[in-house]
Each structure stands twice: as structure tokens, then as C-alpha cells.
């Protein structure tokens, strides 16, 4: 019954509160600040991508001696899983915008599950690579640093989305004021887009 009343309070609260001018202006600030944060995160990834491409093209050739082979089949399905989670997150936000709380909740849970599946896939890939590790440090410098950073971002994203779901259940967001959900979706898409680049430079290049 506690769950039902929380959800009830959430539903009731969700329909009140017209956005006032202060909310509208601070929303602009928060969205821009978050976008700039994503830009700086992009610079972080770009720096390591530069380092990987530089090392790959000025070193002993690629793959370096002793480096393990990457599993393209696993990475393909894993990538599709992550991209799919981007699609489900898009649906989650769309449903919120169309005032459908239940569908929002279902789609965001699907996103979290798919994100967790992606991380599991990465762990399997890491395990396979470690099994055939030839001691090539430079492979680690490129592959593990970047995919590790990305995996950490996915992990944080999963926590972030879970927190958003819990907050939504408690009625923190209304159908007019839901900036947190928008920002969470932006972050999740960002993590997805980074993976497009990483997938290309490690598995397709």
C-alpha cells in the first residue's frame, strides 16, 4: 500500500505547479550548464581518442605484437543493445511528455536493463581478452582506457537513471517541470554517441 500511495502522490503532484518565470529561467541555466559539461566530457574522450589514434599510427603497427583479437560479433550485438537502450530512453521521455507515467516507467526500466546488459557484454569481452592477453601494454593504453572510461560513464548513467525513476515515483517531476528527466536522457544519448565512435575506432578500423 505504501508503494501505491507514493505513486498516487506522484500522479497527483504531477498535475499541479505551472512553471513560473524563475523556473523557466533557471531551467535555461541548468540545461546550458549541463550541455557545456557534456562538451567538456567530450573533450576528455577526444583526448584519449587522439592518444589511441596517434599511438596506433606512429608505433609498431596495429595490432601490436601479442595483442588479443577483438570479438566483432559480440561487440556488434552489444552495440545494438546500447543503441537500443537509447531508443527506449527516447520513448520514455516521449511518454512522459505525453503524460503517460506507466509507459514512461516501463521504458526507463527497459533502458536500465539494456544498459546493464551492455555492461555485462563488456565484462564478457574483457574476460575473453584477458584470457588471451599477450602482455601488450600499448593495447591496454588504447583499448582498456577508453572502453573503461566509457563503461564507467555507462555505470554512472545507470545509477543516474535509477535515481531519476525513484524521484519520478516520488512525484518530484510534473508533466510541466521535468528538466531532470530531459538532462538524464541527454546524458544517456551522449554515452551512446561516444560508443558509436569507440565502436568504430576499435572494431571497424
Amino acid at each position: 500500500m505504501a508503494v501505491a500511495s507514493v505513486t498516487q502522490a506522484g500522479i497527483v503532484g504531477r498535475h499541479h505547479e505551472e512553471p513560473d518565470q524563475l523556473y523557466v529561467e533557471t531551467r535555461e541555466l541548468r540545461v546550458q550548464g549541463f550541455l557545456l559539461f557534456m562538451v567538456s566530457d567530450l573533450v576528455l574522450f577526444s583526448s584519449f581518442i587522439f592518444a589511441y589514434l596517434y599511438l596506433r599510427n606512429t608505433g609498431q603497427g596495429w595490432p601490436p605484437p601479442g595483442a588479443p583479437k577483438l570479438d566483432l560479433a559480440l561487440a556488434s550485438i552489444n552495440s545494438v543493445i546500447l543503441f537500443g537502450s537509447g531508443a527506449t530512453m527516447h520513448f520514455a521521455l516521449e511518454n512522459w511528455k505525453h503524460r503517460n507515467f506507466t509507459k514512461f516507467a516501463n521504458w526507463i526500466i527497459a533502458t536500465i536493463i539494456l544498459g546493464a546488459m551492455f555492461l555485462s557484454g563488456q565484462i564478457v569481452e574483457y574476460a575473453k581478452i584477458s584470457a588471451t592477453w599477450g602482455g601488450s601494454g600499448i593495447f591496454g593504453a588504447g583499448f582498456f582506457t577508453l572502453t573503461g572510461m566509457h563503461g564507467f560513464h555507462v555505470f554512472c548513467g545507470i545509477i543516474y537513471l535509477t535515481v531519476l525513476l525513484l524521484q519520478a515515483l516520488q512525484g518530484k517531476y510534473t508533466f510541466q517541470k521535468y528538466t531532470g528527466l530531459t538532462l538524464g536522457t541527454l546524458y544517456w544519448h551522449f554515452v551512446d554517441v561516444i560508443w558509436v565512435v569507440l565502436f568504430s575506432i576499435f572494431y571497424l578500423y
Binding site: 550485438i77 543503441f83 536522457t185 571497424l204
Partner: protein, 74 residues
């Protein structure tokens, strides 16, 4: 054991191919529906949906080995 691991990879590729196509069309249709939205954050969303579609497309090609890098197990 060899036959089994080949099958796993096979399943992975088929799933990647099918769901890749699904995700590609979902992203492309979402992009088309949102095309006229305004505001900075919506432009960013549109860019990301486009890149998502691109990613799905690349994954489709990867699943059938049309695109495969050096150092990758085919």
C-alpha cells in the same frame, strides 16, 4: 567446443543484424517526427538521434563483416 563458440557468434550476428535494423528505423523515424522542434536542447537531441541511427547502421554492417577492423576476430 569449436562448433559451440561458432554458433554463439552466429547468434550474436543474427541478433545484431535484426535489432540493428529495428533500432535504425526507430531512430530515423524519431528524428523525422522531431525534425521541426526548436530550442538548443532539441537540436542536440536531433544530432544524437542521427548519430544513433548511424551507429545502428555501422553495427548492421559489422554484423555481416562488411566493415571489420584490423585486429578483429572475424
Amino acid at each position: 567446443m569449436e562448433g559451440i563458440s561458432a554458433t554463439v557468434a552466429h547468434v550474436e550476428r543474427i541478433l545484431a543484424f535484426i535489432f540493428g535494423i529495428v533500432v535504425f528505423f526507430v531512430a530515423a523515424i524519431a528524428l523525422k517526427n522531431d525534425w521541426k522542434s526548436k530550442g538548443l536542447e532539441n537540436q542536440v537531441f536531433k544530432m544524437m538521434l542521427a548519430l544513433l541511427a548511424l551507429g545502428a547502421f555501422l553495427a548492421i554492417l559489422a554484423s555481416v563483416n562488411v566493415l571489420a577492423g584490423k585486429g578483429v576476430e572475424i
